[in-house]
């Protein structure tokens, strides 16, 4: 389409490339999903070690394992890592793997952009963690409240690493958001109307709408903070008329939708696992879907509940209190419908189902404690205490992570063709479930007993000693639980045979209609969808007469001859890798170390080269 030929310095990979180069240049959503999952799990280990350091420091009063400065770095990086490098990319791993399979597509809309998202995520995470090597890791909390992050109070480079790392991760998320929204809107199999999409797809869509709309706000806030720190502007400098509260508004206007970005994917997973193992359709499909949308929508009007003690005034607090409580309604609807799904089912109890059920149980606790700080006077005692730490670990760990683990056990045979060992899995579940409650339940009490968050240590005689010790013991057990999972993964790869059939769980959605693991092109023939849970009704046509999904009046697709040679998949490309690398090096070059402009220039050159190369790369398929 263009008269310009662009020189390629490195031979373009073709579709037969394999090995490391195959992974580096892949644009296959399944391989990218795997890379997301593996990378995020490695970051999870890093964030987990940080968590254990925090707990060891707090095990006894006047702990001296970490200096206060290092403690601040560790808790900042723990939060940042778990949110941006673990839960979000783990969700992205599932988006990548499952979305095309469930909507009956051969890949996402923009495969190279998809690869770019992954590489940007990887390099962004590396940049963020490089700060450890300089001794100046970010130390201002994942919320980075100004003016504690302004140069006068935080002159070293840690927060700058944090800003630029997050910018890169934000770009990665935005690119993925554009990609998945386009994929879901545009690449559904013929006949799959919106109301026939699996709930997981719906939740993915809501999450990506939130990503696409929320991340620009944090991008701007980070730009402003970066300019304050590096170029002497005054956005959050009160001595020049800036307002630190403005940072909080910007941050939480992003930060609260972010909370739903973290939890909705797990809700989607649970909504797939429960019907499959109950052998029943999801209860109240449209209510589950619309409550998900309602949560995503209302999530935009509650951000100031993170700021009840900032002094916005009674009117604002009252308004945000009521809007926050309103979110409990669609959330409750979801929980009731999940129980409704189990009710009257034929429930197969295994690790995947137990994780899903535990998700509901733990999420209910997190939700109920959430209501107690939706009320500003009550929150005045709870804000910034361990009660809040307990609350959000019940929704983030007890919610998101248990949900994600449920998805891992559920889809593992689809990913690999092998099962995860069920016995080890039950041990994994039991240890994690028990240790999780042992770690985080006492924190409710600690918070109500007046222990603030983010304290590097605490004095003796406050009555906090035993609870903290118990919590630390729990966290160590939690570490053991994670190792059991790791062992299960290794065991599955080395010892479990490749026995998974197409449809090992008697599944309901399209991914179970194709081999495990799926071929490169996913579907021989793009399916023609007639029903919600189409695959289930293909297997059990006699159950279809009373389904709400409705029959499709779509004319049958033009015939496919089923010859695989006709299926053209996009070529691999190394430009996404270099574009991500160039972006990270370029933005990393803004951090004011000696000679940083040289690094920035090198990054810019890599970026422009790969951008142009990408633009002029002939694309097959």
């Amino acid at each position: 389409m263009t008269t310009i030929s662009y020189p390629t310095f490195i031979r373009r990979p073709n579709e037969y490339v394999s090995g490391i180069w195959g992974w580096l240049t892949t644009v296959d959503h399944k391989k990218i999903g795997t890379m997301y999952g593996v990378t995020a799990f490695l970051w999870f280990l890093v964030g987990g070690i940080e968590a254990l350091l925090i707990r060891l420091q707090l095990a006894r009063p006047e702990g001296t394992i970490l200096s206060p400065e290092v403690y601040n770095q560790v808790f900042t990086m723990h939060g940042t890592t778990m949110i941006f490098l673990v839960v979000m990319p783990l969700s992205a791993a599932f988006f990548n793997w499952i979305v095309p399979l469930q909507i009956g597509a051969r890949d996402v809309a923009f495969p190279r952009l998809n690869a770019f998202s992954f590489w940007a995520f990887l390099f962004g995470g590396i940049l963020l963690n490089l700060s450890w090597l300089t001794g100046d890791a970010p130390n201002a909390g994942w919320f980075a409240y100004a003016p504690n992050t302004e140069p006068q109070f935080n002159p070293r480079n840690g927060v700058t690493y944090w800003i630029l790392g997050l910018q890169i991760l934000g770009i990665a998320s935005l690119a993925a958001g554009f990609n998945f929204l386009t994929t879901i809107i545009n690449m559904r199999a013929p006949g799959m109307s919106f109301m026939k999409m699996p709930v997981f797809i719906w939740m993915t869509a809501v999450v990506n709408v939130l990503i696409v709309l929320a991340f620009p706000i944090i991008t701007v806030a980070l730009i402003q903070l970066q300019f304050d720190r590096l170029y002497g502007t005054h956005f959050f400098n009160p001595t020049m008329g800036g307002d630190p509260v403005m940072w909080q508004h910007m941050f939480w206007l992003f930060g609260h939708p972010e909370v739903y970005i973290l939890i909705l994917p797990a809700m989607g997973i649970v909504s797939e696992v429960l019907p499959t193992f109950s052998r029943k359709p999801i209860y109240g499909y449209s209510f589950i879907v619309f409550s998900g949308i309602a949560i995503g929508f209302l999530g935009w009007f509650v951000w100031s509940h993170h700021m009840f003690t900032v002094g916005l005034g009674p009117a604002a607090n009252a308004a945000f209190s009521v809007s926050t409580m309103a979110i409990a309604i669609p959330t409750g609807v979801k929980i009731f419908n999940w129980i409704g799904t189990l009710w009257g089912g034929s429930i197969k109890i295994n690790t995947a189902l137990l994780f899903s059920v535990a998700f509901i149980g733990m999420f209910v606790i997190g939700g109920l404690s959430g209501v107690t700080h939706a009320s500003p006077p009550s929150d005045a005692q709870q804000q910034d205490t361990y009660y809040v730490v307990a609350h959000f670990h019940y929704v983030l760990f007890g919610g998101s992570l248990l949900g994600l683990w449920s998805g891992v056990y559920y889809w593992w045979p689809k990913f690999t063709g092998r099962f995860l060992n069920e016995k080890i899995g039950l041990w994994h579940f039991g240890i994690v479930f028990f240790a999780f409650n042992l770690t985080f339940f006492p924190m409710h009490w600690l918070g109500l007993d007046g222990m603030p968050r983010r304290v590097a240590t605490y004095p003796e005689g406050m009555g906090w000693d035993i609870s903290n010790l118990v919590s630390t013991i729990g966290s160590l057990m939690l570490g053991v639980g994670v190792l059991v999972f790791l062992y299960n993964v290794v065991y599955s790869n080395l010892r479990m045979p490749k026995t998974a059939s197409n449809d090992p769980w008697d599944g309901r959605t399209l991914e179970w209609s194709i081999p495990s693991p799926p071929p490169h092109y996913n579907f021989d023939v793009i399916p023609d969808v007639k029903y919600r849970d189409d695959f289930w009704y293909t297997k059990y046509p006699e159950l279809a007469h009373n389904t709400h999904g409705g029959g499709s009046d779509l004319e049958s697709q033009e015939d496919h001859d089923g010859d695989h040679a006709d299926i053209h998949m996009p070529d691999p490309s190394y430009y996404p890798l270099f574009l991500g690398l160039g972006l990270a090096v370029m933005l990393g070059g803004f951090i004011p170390f000696t000679g940083h402009w040289v690094v920035c220039a090198v990054g810019l050159i890599i970026f422009i080269w790969s951008f142009l190369g990408w633009s002029y790369e002939p694309v097959n398929g």
Partner: protein, 499 residues
């Protein structure tokens, strides 16, 4: 694969649940002393906040039992009735259950009922938001200003003209209206037993109120992450009945028993550029606020060079019960340890990073000097506080001293006002400031039109205007504030004799 003891697992699940709640109950009951517990309410504000929490807690408790009960019941009751056949995993001997898609009436029901419950929570919530915002209209609240600093608290009583730090005295049974401010970063003012927290935000002014019902000590703590020593930013509220409180108010306006000692000189030399100690004087309130702002601005705009930063007011330190922002009891031992090496008690404290005397680690003071400073500070007790008997002796002693010559007077002042702490009398010896040796020979030529005497006089009264090359500004304390015209002249006449 076979799943062994399926039923056991779910029973275990139940057991774990009950076990963790049992542990929680144990934890609730076994620790005896909870000075920051939000369950012990010492005033109406905390009381109102607790009541709201209890309301929600019980509602949440009921919902918790119902939902978890339904969940566990469903899990146990609707287990798949199958007998796995070895070798053929995941056989499905049963037929699919009835394919239920939902029930609109049920959906509406479980949308409306939670909504009604939330209304029942929202109404008292909004009421309490307003009732905990302003003190009751018919009351006569005590107005105070709480300033968050990295990492200590400044408390001002604007109506009484009193400034103090880290220890807030309030009367019982009278509302206290707090104006919350900060100069540096965001902090949060929190006395768990008395009232929920409110942030101090630089550039903004917040307000809250509380009231304490019973006399006693209440523990407070900064609740917003504010930097490296956040965990060490505590304070104490001492509630007293109105009469005792008024005694304290008067005492804070009374001079201390002693004004002069070896420690006083050392304090002036090393500490007084940041710490005020004389706020009992008339008109000192406005001065203290201005000086504190100056100290702050000095540090904020020139962190590398500034030798001062805003710091706690130490007036009548001897009657405070804790030191270093609620870190230790106020004992001689602790105070000496704190002065010697503040970082040992509070890592990151600006006292160590800013004050000249600490450059390079612990205080560059001799053991007896530290003790002298500590003794001086502990002697800062208002005249008439506690036992009255021996109070006036030393004061009188100081005032009846008679000087034969101005030079002799000047020499006494040079030592007792702390000049000798920084200025050596030996040639070319630099302690902190320039040596005073041979001052008369160089002073005359420093500034055109000023004689040596005039130059020395000026540089004592306006130190920053006459900085000698190679020395930092803002280091020398403004001791002239404490000196009369006669004393200043005596000091000058002594200084020109040093050769």
């Amino acid at each position: 694969m076979e799943i062994p003891h399926k039923f056991m697992i779910t029973k275990k699940l139940l057991k774990y649940l009950s076990l963790s709640s049992l542990i929680a109950i144990l934890l609730l009951s076994c620790s005896p002393h909870h000075e920051q517990s939000t369950f012990t309410n010492a005033g109406p504000v905390a009381q109102a906040q607790s009541e709201l929490f209890y309301l929600m807690f019980w509602i949440a408790g009921i919902i918790f039992v119902l939902v978890q009960g339904a969940l566990i019941f469903a899990l146990l009751n609707f287990r798949r009735k199958e007998h796995p056949i070895p070798g053929s995993d995941f056989k499905l001997p049963d037929i699919p259950p009835k394919q239920v898609h939902g029930n609109t009436k049920l959906e509406i029901l479980w949308t409306i009922i939670p909504a009604l419950i939330l209304v029942a929570i929202a109404v008292p919530t909004v009421q309490t938001i307003y009732s905990t915002y302003e003190p009751p209209e018919d009351s006569d609240p005590l107005e105070i200003v709480a300033m968050g600093h990295q990492w200590w608290w400044e408390f001002r009583y604007p109506d009484e003209g009193i400034v103090t730090a880290n220890e807030l005295r309030v009367p019982t049974n009278r509302p206290v209206k707090v104006t919350l401010q900060s100069q540096d970063v965001i902090h949060s003012f929190w006395i768990p037993q008395v009232a929920g927290k409110k942030d101090t935000v630089p550039g903004n002014t917040n307000q809250m109120w509380f009231q304490v019902d019973e006399p006693g000590n209440y523990s407070g703590q900064c609740a917003e992450f504010c930097g490296v020593a956040h965990a060490r930013m505590r304070f104490r509220v001492i509630a007293e009945d109105e009469a005792d409180f008024n005694v304290w108010l008067n005492a804070m306006k009374t001079p201390p028993k002693t004004t002069s000692s070896e420690g006083y000189g050392l304090f002036l030399a090393h500490c007084s550029m940041c710490h005020s100690i004389d706020s009992y004087m008339n008109e000192s309130y406005e001065k203290e606020i201005t000086v504190q702002d100056d100290r702050w601005a000095d540090w904020f705009h020139n962190q590398e060079e500034s030798a001062r930063v805003s710091a706690p007011n130490l007036t009548h330190l001897g009657i405070r019960t804790m030191l270093a922002a609620g870190q230790k009891d106020m004992t001689r031992e602790n105070l000496i340890a704190w002065i010697k090496d503040p970082s040992d008690i509070k890592q990151g404290t600006r006292m160590q990073s800013v004050a000249t005397v600490y450059q390079g680690g612990a205080a560059k003071l001799k053991e007896h000097e530290v003790e002298a400073i500590a003794d001086y500070l502990l002697s800062q007790i208002p005249d008439g506080w506690g036992s009255v008997s021996t109070s006036t002796e030393s004061l009188e002693e100081a005032e009846v001293m008679v000087w034969n010559t101005p030079e002799e007077h000047g020499e006494y002042l040079f030592v007792n006002q702390g000049c000798s702490g920084c200025h050596s009398l030996n040639e070319d010896e630099v302690i902190v400031g320039p040596s005073m040796y041979g001052l008369i020979d160089r002073s005359g030529s420093k500034v055109e039109g000023l004689s040596a005497e005039e130059y020395i006089y000026q540089s004592i009264t306006y130190p920053n205007e006459y900085i000698v090359d190679g020395y930092a500004a803002n280091v020398m304390p403004q001791i002239f504030i404490n000196l009369s015209e006669e004393e200043l002249n005596a000091l000058v006449s002594y200084l020109i004799t040093i050769k």
